[in-house]
């Protein structure tokens, strides 16, 4: 199996507490934990958002599961159209046929007892079909498997497909438990434990009223407690983070109603993403939440929650969380200021990008580095930390991610290749421009044929030198 070839990044082990790893072992099946998420959304309300993606009313097949054979045969997949208001690539008939073929390939693959990961990766790297649920399933399988080293390390071994359901259910209840433990306020939590109501009524939005009797006032911990060990103190520390998350979620793909409108569906989506990001922040106290994580989460959540299978879609939050954590395990150090100048930090990765560029096109490297002095920090910092999610429209991002996720050498390796290819693809413009022109071009990357870009990325030769710039 391919799994054996995957490298175990040193940093993944360090960055993630065992506790976290153990709860993200798989992905989930059942809907759960929609408590507090429902804003009275009715199906069909947001057709405008969903329909372009071949999704919306076409939810005939409720029982599509990973192990069901050919179950999403007529899943409303149409020509790969673009989601809400994005990209310009047009779709030819041959593309449609190719996509159809790919779709049956995938369906067949998912019907097998043992998924052939290499084959799946191969199909995915050439682009997964939009709409339906194939991309969602493929991503989950690929992410689960590609980051298998994590689970292996923690004693979890994703085996054949038959075992998935059990894993999923287990994982889902772990997620629910984690949410309960970490996202409820201390008063909500203590009430859940059936303790007598203590002093914390106002924050729980609870119904307690009247005065507190003296004996009801807790002596050890209370909302105004400033001690580091106080659960209340810890709870309030996160309100600031929560506000930041909320602000950013409202600004995630601001041109897409799915994320940033005022509709109940959009609010429900933000609520789910907010839970995921907050949970991640709480589980990673050193890194917490960093702006841009919302962007990395967005494609996952979008793909999983627009899965044509309702059950899968309803479970998008738990699935997204599991995959988000794994995806970041590879690159979370880029978000960490303290590691900026370490060998796993962003500067080192930027140097690797330069090395790759130099190995593939020394002329361009010379122009950017020596002539114009366009520090990659000015443009590639965002490319890399956000996995290109702010450079393209969502449709293109999904296509690029098919490629990133399915690369046998890892997401980060492929990401650097795509970044390098992005430079190569605008070489002529770069060479004729000065510092300002170059910076503007790279910070606002032009519309480009994504298939061509990915092809260039695939053809990039590795940097064999030990070239490394000091940050």
């Amino acid at each position: 199996m391919l799994r054996g070839k995957l490298k175990l990044p040193e940093k993944a082990r360090r960055a993630f507490p065992d506790r976290l790893g153990s709860i993200v072992a798989g992905f989930n099946e059942k809907d759960e934990e929609n408590r507090g998420l429902n804003h009275g959304f009715e199906l069909g309300e947001e057709l405008e958002t969903f329909q372009p993606n071949g999704f919306g009313l076409d939810r005939e097949l409720d029982d599509y599961k990973v192990e069901d054979e050919k179950s999403d045969g007529e899943l409303g997949f149409r020509a790969p159209q673009k989601p809400d208001r994005d990209g310009a690539d047009s779709v030819s008939f041959s593309d449609v046929f190719a996509a159809d073929e790919k779709r049956s390939d995938l369906e067949y693959e998912f019907s097998q007892k043992e998924i052939n990961l290499e084959k799946l990766q191969r199909v995915a790297s050439s682009g997964l079909p939009d709409g339906g649920g194939l991309r969602a399933t493929a991503w989950k399988v690929i992410i689960s498997s590609s980051f298998a080293h994590l689970q292996l390390l923690l004693g979890y071994l994703p085996a054949s497909r038959d075992l998935w359901e059990k894993e999923l259910i287990e994982n889902q209840s772990k997620y629910a438990k984690l949410k309960e433990e970490l996202l409820l306020s201390p008063s909500q939590f203590s009430k859940r434990e059936d303790e007598p109501l203590r002093s914390n009524k106002q924050y729980a939005g609870s119904d307690a009223d009247g005065q507190l009797a003296r004996h009801d006032v807790s002596t050890d911990d209370h909302p105004l407690c400033l001690g580091q060990a106080s659960v209340w103190h810890q709870y309030f520390q996160f309100t600031e983070i929560l506000e930041q998350i909320d602000r950013d979620l409202l600004r995630t793909h601001p041109d897409m109603k799915f994320f940033s409108s005022n509709s109940s569906l959009s609010r429900k989506n933000r609520e789910a993403m907010r839970n995921i990001l907050l949970l991640f922040a709480k589980l990673n106290p050193v890194i917490r939440y960093v702006q841009g994580m919302n962007e990395v989460l967005a494609p996952l959540y979008y793909v999983f929650s627009t899965d044509a299978d309702e059950k899968n879609a309803a479970n998008a939050e738990a699935d997204s969380f599991a995959c988000f954590v794994r995806l970041l395990s590879d690159s979370v150090d880029h978000f960490c200021e303290q590691l900026d100048n370490s060998s796993v930090g962003i500067h080192s990765t930027l140097s690797r990008l330069l090395g790759l560029l130099k190995a593939n096109d020394e002329e361009l490297w010379r122009h950017l580095e020596l002539t114009n002095k366009v520090n990659p920090q000015f443009y590639a910092f965002r490319w890399i930390t956000l996995l290109l999610t702010q450079e393209f429209d969502l449709h293109s991002i999904l296509r690029i991610w098919d490629c990133l996720l399915s690369n046998p050498f890892g997401v980060q390796e492929m990401l650097l290749r795509v970044c390098c290819a992005m430079l190569l693809c605008v070489k002529t413009n770069l060479l004729s421009g000065d510092f300002v022109d170059n910076l503007k071009l790279l910070q606002h990357y032009p519309k480009i044929n994504i298939e061509h870009l990915l092809q260039v990325a695939q053809d990039i030769s590795p940097d064999t030198s030990s070239f490394c710039l000091s940050p």
């Binding site: 602000r247 702006q291 002539t371 114009n372 300002v436």
Partner: protein, 211 residues
């Protein structure tokens, strides 16, 4: 080869570097977009740094403004510190509807300037954004004025959304820069070259001819 924009220097009299700083979500990018393209739209959070150029005629001069728009979140501060270098103008933005964005100016941002700005004479400007949300306002204009007095900066309230005072904001800042000889010298490429010419490589000016 070393001065890539030398051809362009024909098109303008001065090149100034401006920097936008302030908490996340106060509207730095919106302010900049409002200024550079007279439009307002919802924007994604800035990650790292964004960069825009605007050509403008201010105070009878042709100007090229290179404006660096930084990310507000703490994580990005060590990365953005280098952008302070050589800036002739720094715009500190807060949101008049969020008190903490104002208090962070003295707690954080003014200190950042002290720490990283290399330019003693650099002009600072305080900007209270989002005055279109008057009903939600929590920071009074008077407070902004007082802060500006204390820290010796210019002050204006504006709305990137309605574009109220946006042009004025940048104009005031640039006019002040134009009024400051040392900054003017920095901003002028031609002048810079002259300075180099006036300082010939041979340091011994002992043969001081006084003609």
């Amino acid at each position: 080869m070393d001065s890539p924009s030398s051809q362009e220097s024909v098109g303008f009299d001065y090149l100034f570097k401006l920097l936008l700083i302030g908490d996340s979500g106060v509207g730095k990018s919106s302010l900049l977009l409002s200024f550079t393209s007279d439009s307002f739209q919802d924007l994604s959070p800035t990650i790292g740094v964004d960069f825009k150029v605007k050509y403008a005629d201010i105070g009878g001069k042709k100007l090229k403004l290179a404006i660096w728009d930084t990310a507000g979140q703490e994580r990005f501060r060590t990365l953005t510190s280098s952008y302070y270098r050589g800036a002739q103008g720094i715009i500190m933005v807060y949101d008049v509807t969020r008190r903490e964005t104002f208090t962070n100016l003295s707690d954080i941002w003014a200190k950042e300037i002290d720490l990283y700005s290399t330019n003693q004479d650099c002009i600072k400007m305080l900007v209270g954004n989002k005055v279109d949300k008057e009903s939600e306002r929590v920071v009074m204009k008077k407070e902004g004025i007082n802060f500006a007095r204390e820290y010796g900066c210019l002050f204006i309230e504006c709305s990137a959304k309605t574009r109220l005072n946006v042009q004025q904001c940048f104009e005031e800042l640039v006019l002040k820069i134009l009024d400051t000889p040392s900054l003017l010298a920095e901003g002028s490429k031609v002048l810079k070259k002259n300075i180099f010419k006036q300082k010939p490589p041979q340091p011994d000016t002992s043969s001081s001819s006084c003609c």
